[in-house]
Symmetry: C2
Subunit: 113 residues, 2 copies
Amino acid sequence: MQVSAPSQPLDAVTVEALADTFRLLGDPTRVRIVDALAGGALCVHEISERISLSESAVSHQLRLMRTMRIVKGRREGRCVYYTLDDQHVLDLFQQGLRHVSEGHGQPRANSDL
Amino acid sequence: MQVSAPSQPLDAVTVEALADTFRLLGDPTRVRIVDALAGGALCVHEISERISLSESAVSHQLRLMRTMRIVKGRREGRCVYYTLDDQHVLDLFQQGLRHVSEGHGQPRANSDL
């Protein structure tokens, strides 16, 4: 565990933005979309097939995720290809995955603490 | 952006655990607690003072966060000192912070996509 000297608490705007980002990722459908896009750019149709969800439901989620800069879109002809917005989103996803894969993220059994 | 060949989608249990972890972090009070603990171990009283929230409210959040393995507690005499559960939690928090500090995490202005 990295330990540093106590620093100034985060300002309210940063706290809200951080909570909003985590909250947006805290949904199973959006986790599936991030998982699909972790492999590279996909259009709505491909994401829809990959996660077995209607294209309209995928589009709805992508709009939310785009607004919060979790994904970004790039038009190519008649298709819009979506990717994760930046390396930080991929890193966040992969860190979360490591956390839950090591048995964290599962509810802890009760103990005295 | 790291791109790899399409892999198997995550299984349902992992998707739920990942969404639960992000959802738990997606709350301003819990973000403030993680921020406080990013600097090292603190007892409930110290967290309470640091984030200007009652000890009972802090304890309530810590119980939730402990159950989901975001924090862990270590008893020392009459006090319980809390730390982030593991390095992944600190990494998650810091990655999220980098994302929002670079202007991501703020709603994107509307454009054609």
